[in-house]
């Protein structure tokens, strides 16, 4: 495992003092293996510790305890300027007094490369991000998207073992962001450098990552490929944070799950991955698109709201005291008018028990 790991992070803990004199635990015994040549995404809401982990890997913060290995070599005591890891900063952090080419050359000059080689590498880096014409410009003369590319080129020119990207797309508008997501994927494929990207945007994480690590309050709560994390959320937090989820509280007894208002949940509705529940209270997560509504005058649900958004019908259904979000596409939706009674069910294999 660790032989093919670019980065292995073991039980890293980091606390910061608060202004009130207390402490906040930004990272709480975090462990993570990042495979060589992968595109790993650290996902979580703001304040969850993901940027702190990135800064610990870069060497901009030092962990209180734990170990970080880069290609099998321990690096957490190596100063930032010696680590073969480079960062694309959220604010880009381009040097405003240097041209684009000088910005890219800076890191290579620090490596004391010969002039000709620097020139050649700067040219290659500019070409890679398709900015060959703009080498003589100042950062202030570039658009946000172009600045982003310069920041990328500057970090990639050093050919790091791992490239760290701290919310690299957050300053771009939506349209540019989609384009840059593709661009980042392409660059990662072409360079086959390991990318570790931090984001709070789940769509970004889903569309870009080979592997997604979901953070919650300083801990990694789930690691896996995007599809797996989406389909099989392990905890209530993950289910709720990634995509939308209806979280229903029920009780398990003798292998059967009862949710008030729904009655017993049919076995075939439960996802295959779910372990047979322990007796006691449980939380069941169901995605809006997996809720099935059938018009039925004796049904258990009442339509509270129905709105077309794009091609989909977004429906709010009240079952007892619980409100469910439902997404339905295509035909049959005429009958789902506000006030209509429906029978609410779950698509086969779509309901999942999550940890609280």
């Amino acid at each position: 495992m660790s032989a093919e790991s670019a980065l292995s992070i073991r039980e890293v803990t980091k606390t910061f003092p608060t202004p009130e004199g207390g402490e906040v635990r930004a990272l709480d015994s975090v462990s993570l293996e990042v495979a060589d040549g992968s595109f790993t995404v650290l996902l979580g809401p703001s304040g969850c510790g993901k940027t702190t982990l990135l800064r610990c890997i870069a060497g901009l913060e030092s962990p209180d305890s734990g170990e970080i290995d880069l290609k099998g070599q321990r690096i957490d005591d190596v100063p930032v300027w010696k680590r073969r890891v480079n960062t694309v900063f959220q604010s880009y952090a381009l040097f405003p007094h240097m041209t684009v080419a000088q910005n890219i050359a800076f890191g290579l000059e620090m490596d004391k490369l010969p002039k000709a080689q620097i020139q050649q590498k700067v040219g290659a880096a500019l070409e890679m991000v398709r900015l060959s014409d703009l080498g003589a410009r100042r950062p202030s003369q570039l658009s946000g998207g172009q600045q982003q590319r310069v920041a990328l080129a500057r970090a990639l020119a050093k050919e790091p073992e791992v490239l760290l990207l701290d919310e690299p797309l957050s300053a771009l508008d939506l349209k540019l962001r989609r384009g840059m997501q593709m661009e980042l994927k392409r660059l990662q494929r072409e360079t086959s450098i390991t990318f570790v990207l931090v984001t709070h945007d789940q769509d970004e994480a889903m569309s870009m990552g080979d592997l997604v690590a979901v953070f919650d309050s300083g801990r990694i709560v789930q690691v896996g490929p995007p599809r797996e994390v989406y389909l099989s959320p392990r905890t209530r937090f993950v289910a709720d944070f990634i995509g939308e989820a209806n979280l229903l509280e029920g009780a398990a007894a003798g292998g059967r799950i009862d949710i008030p208002g729904f009655g017993d949940v049919a076995d075939e509705a439960m996802s295959a991955g779910s372990a047979p529940p322990q007796d006691g209270p449980v939380i069941v997560a169901v995605r809006p698109e997996n809720v099935v509504l059938r018009p039925d005058p004796t049904g258990n649900g009442t339509i509270v709201d129905a709105t077309f958004i794009g091609g989909d019908l977004h429906v709010e259904v009240a079952v007892g005291d619980t409100l469910l979000s439902v997404r339905q596409g295509g035909p049959g939706s005429e009958a789902l008018a506000v006030g209509a009674l429906v029978r609410v069910g779950f698509a086969p294999g779509s309901a999942r028990i999550v940890e609280p």
């Binding site: 060497g59 930032v80 300027w81 405003p96």
Partner: protein, 266 residues
Amino acid sequence: MSRARGTGESLKNFPLFGLVSALVFAFLYVPLVFVVGYSFNSNRVVTIWKGFSLDWYVDVLTNDDIQRALMNSLRVAVVATILSVVLATGLAIGLLRMARSGRTFAWSLIMAPLIIPEIVFAIGTLALFVQVRFPLGVEAITLAHTAFCIPFALLPIRARLRGVDLAVYEAAADLGAHEWTIFRRITLPLLMPGIVAGALLAFIISLDDFLVSYFLAGAGGTTLPVYIFGMIRNAITPGVNALSTLLLLASVIIVTLSYIITRRKR
């Protein structure tokens, strides 16, 4: 100026404020115009106009004592400027990294020369130099000037430093630069406009100073303002105006330069 309540822009105008403003501007500049105007008077008596002449300029510029005073002034101003800019740059950087109590103490020290009445500062430094047997003269003046030039040098540098995205330093370190390299390649070039503006301000503040120089001049340390003060007390001729005009000109040019550098976009 209409007294009737107008609309739009005119609502911002208060009666007579425009007139008072014009008078205040006149009050600020007319005296200087007289200083300059009479410098071209060929008469020995400043305020009785006899005719246009540049003789007084020739007169003061060829005067040995004045040349010596000018050289003293320049020596003081140049060295005080360099010293104060170097110290202020260090202080600007250091201040950002100090604990709160240290910062408060440092700020009080930096700003003190601007708040304490100059006479107290002047005789205080005089007493200090006499006490530690540091000879009065150009060097003593230079040290004292450096102290009150520091705040003027510091403010533009600090303004510049605070405008820098902190991530820029981290990016430099991330790309492989050491502390000293970061300072030389990143911090210093970014601060340079502030440093130049601060240096220019420090230079005129030193060049124009009279009171501190007057007390610390000793036997050989007469600066230009101290010399002019002597001329005013002994015999006022348009020569005083000619010298004053040159000094005014220097101040205006330097301030304008500093202003342009500060306002220029990055």
